[in-house]
């Protein structure tokens, strides 16, 4: 059963009253007017806001150290302390990018999901899976996106590798989008923004039986 609208909005109000980020879930858009009104009202109730001195200092350093001339390259943006590609992303990515010692390259490959005890769960006939289109399936406690390529099927976890949010299949761009922050992943689970490396999506075991059924290793 879905979250009641009043509970949905109160959860967000509580977060905002505690100074937390806006953490929205699927379905919150139904109350977008109330949510944006809450954010504006809370801000109004807090009076004029100025940048925190440490934040202002970091901005100043980044402005001063940015390469001269032309638009920033993604690498230069990271060196300058901003950590993300110019205009490429929004939200919490930047804050995370400011953390020291970010890896230079994305983690190659994801961890294999090996539920214990695991069992093969039938998730449909191969013919039910459209070529190259992500399909969300559930195998007990394991949620996955499956991708058919001819007679084979691959699977990645339906959970973002960065925030604990369920991914959405974006058929137009052919990627899995995270609804909680601006991150997306290829059907193989690789992050699409190489300038800010996120871990690879976890890999889910999947097989096609002789009878043409698709099975996922779940619980």
């Amino acid at each position: 059963m879905g979250e009641r609208p009043e509970n949905r909005v109160d959860r967000i109000v509580n977060d905002l009253l505690r100074g937390r980020r806006l953490r929205l879930r699927g379905g919150d858009a139904e109350e977008k007017e109330a949510i944006t009104a809450a954010a504006r009202l809370i801000a109004a109730g807090q009076g004029s806001q100025r940048m925190h001195p440490a934040f202002r200092k970091r901005l100043a350093e980044a402005l001063e150290s940015a390469p001269k001339g032309g638009w920033l390259t993604r690498r230069a943006a990271m060196v300058a302390g901003f950590g993300v590609a110019a205009g490429a992303v929004t939200g919490g990515l930047i804050a995370r990018a400011l953390e020291p010692a970010a890896p230079a390259t994305p983690n190659p490959g994801g961890r294999q999901v090996n539920p214990i005890p695991g069992r093969w769960v039938d998730v449909g006939a191969l013919a039910d899976f459209a070529e190259g289109q992500g399909k969300r399936v559930t195998a007990g406690a394991v949620g996955a996106y499956l991708f058919r390529r001819g007679s084979t099927v691959s699977a990645v976890s339906a959970m973002c590798s960065h925030l604990p949010c369920e991914l959405n299949w974006n058929g137009g761009n052919g990627v899995l989008d995270c609804p909680c922050h601006p991150a997306s992943f290829t059907p193989d689970g690789a992050p699409t923004n190489l300038a800010y490396p996120l871990p690879h999506l976890d890999l889910v075991s999947v097989r096609v039986t002789d009878a043409g059924r698709v099975e996922v290793l779940g619980t």
Binding site: E6, G19, A38, I42, G45, A54, K57, G91, L93
Partner: protein
């Protein structure tokens, strides 16, 4: 009066609260940019209602604006560019967080985002919102948002139940969304 704001989440730079700003031989351009970015920060904060998101979005605006800042444009031109960028960044922010296309958000954003910095104090803005509401709606939002009351405290104050207050809060926010703040 109790408050729920005491447990404020620490932002990305909780350290250095008392930092004195020391610019690394800051150029005049940087100094101007920082002053303008203060306005951008306030503008963004007024729409997202929290510091972590406001800082992230302000950083994005600054990043996008660096080349313009380097061109030695006058402050007025810089401001125009920064606020145009801020509108774009805010649009992308709400679109991403709500999982809606920017086209679907267009109407809301047009209402929420003015063409420049706000010309009135936040308290005045809050008052304008509340004045546009019925007594009950105004009261629940005043207690909850301006005084930081918990739902239970609001219910006690209004001689109601937590469940009823929660529903009233939702309806009051929907009504508040229809009150034009800008323009």
């Amino acid at each position: 009066m109790s408050t729920e704001r005491g447990s404020r989440e620490e932002g990305p730079e909780a350290e250095g609260t008392g930092d004195v700003l020391e610019l690394p031989a800051a150029s005049r351009t940087t100094a101007i940019a920082l002053d303008e970015l203060e306005l951008v920060y306030a503008f963004i904060y007024a729409r997202v209602g929290n510091r972590p998101d406001a800082e992230d979005l302000t950083q994005q605006v600054a990043m996008k604006a660096i080349p313009r800042l380097r061109q030695g444009a006058p402050a007025s031109a810089i401001r125009g560019y920064l606020f145009a960028t801020a509108r774009s960044v805010l649009g992308a922010f709400w679109s991403t967080r709500l999982g809606l296309s920017e086209a679907e958000l267009h109407e809301d954003l047009a209402m929420a985002i003015p063409a420049g910095p706000p010309s009135e104090e936040p308290a005045e803005r809050a008052r304008r919102i509340l004045d546009g509401l019925s007594d009950n709606y105004r009261r629940v939002l005043e207690l909850r948002f301006l005084h930081g009351y918990s739902l239970k405290e609001v219910a006690a104050e209004m001689r109601s139940t937590v469940g009823a207050v929660k529903v009233m809060q939702l309806r009051a926010l929907r009504a508040a969304a229809k009150v034009r703040l800008d323009g």
